[in-house]
């Protein structure tokens, strides 16, 4: 029983999710609004996304691998900054959304 669960956990590490792109990133994905990416966490999903669409590299993650402050990333309805940031887990069928953070003075 325990073995079976471990096997399943490993299998669930990397799952396909849908990623909703903000308008300025769509041209890097041939104009698509929603693309597919894989990963077990938000960090892995974003890395996979930039692997598939190199034009997005540098626009989501900083050089040291953290999320840029001008980017909001969500798992379904929730902002990952209020979850586990880039370590936030994703499950199969989740929708990951990316939007610009809108702020000013």
């Amino acid at each position: 029983m325990l073995k079976k669960r471990r096997w399943r956990d490993r299998r669930e590490d990397v799952v396909p999710v849908e990623v909703r792109l903000p308008t300025v990133l769509r041209p890097h994905a041939g104009g698509q609004t929603i693309v597919s990416a894989k990963g077990g966490t938000i960090g892995e999903v974003l890395t996979d996304l930039t692997r598939s669409y190199p034009g997005m590299a540098g626009q989501l993650l900083t050089d040291d691998g953290s999320l840029h402050r001008f980017v909001n990333v969500y798992v379904n309805d929730d902002d990952v900054r209020y979850l586990d940031q880039l370590d936030t887990k994703v499950a199969e069928g989740d929708t990951v959304s990316i939007l610009p953070a809108v702020a000013g003075g």
């Binding site: 300025v24 840029h68 953070a101 702020a103 000013g104 003075g105």
Partner: protein, 165 residues
């Protein structure tokens, strides 16, 4: 396009001077009221929200007042969750988010340095319209801008009673 016409007291052209359409932002009356109302109700803090419509035509038919999670009289941050909800809601209505509005409580309705910086991040859409409302004086003053590559260009604001969607 509106043509200039003769007819001033001294025969000179008055009044209807052509304005390139790309520098006009039209708001429906309802949206105009919603924006001013939300800004006033946010006092003493800045208030903010998102606007939706047709970016190319420069028309705003819908407005999504949002929470200012910065809760400050000098800064605003659109509530990220409400931003996502507005994005999805706009899409359902066949519209897109085409900009943001926010208030300045003690200064002019002109983008601050922070506003310009925030409009120039890699994910900022250069097609966005920035609506500023000054609450410094008795009457609110609403103005609109495009901010591209750190350059601020004002657009004329037209409030239309029967604006097309």
């Amino acid at each position: 396009m509106v043509e200039a016409k003769e007819g001033g007291a001294n025969g000179e052209a008055v009044g209807l001077v052509p304005i390139p359409w790309e520098f006009v932002l039209s708001l429906s009356t309802h949206v105009h009221r919603q924006i001013l109302g939300h800004c006033l109700s946010g006092l003493p803090n800045e208030a903010c929200g998102l606007i939706a419509g047709d970016s190319a035509a420069g028309h705003v038919s819908h407005c999504f007042p949002t929470r200012n999670v910065a809760a400050s009289a000098k800064l605003y941050t659109v509530d990220p969750r409400e931003h996502l909800q507005a994005e999805l809601e706009a899409e359902k209505l066949g519209l897109e988010l085409i900009g943001v509005f926010h208030s300045h409580t003690h200064t002019d309705a002109y983008p601050s340095r922070t506003d310009v910086e925030q409009a120039s991040t890699p994910l900022s859409d250069p097609r966005w319209h920035y609506v500023l409302v000054s609450l410094r004086d008795t009457h609110p003053v609403l103005r609109a801008y495009r901010i591209v590559d750190g350059q601020v260009n004002e657009e004329s604001v037209v409030v239309e009673a029967n604006a097309p969607r």
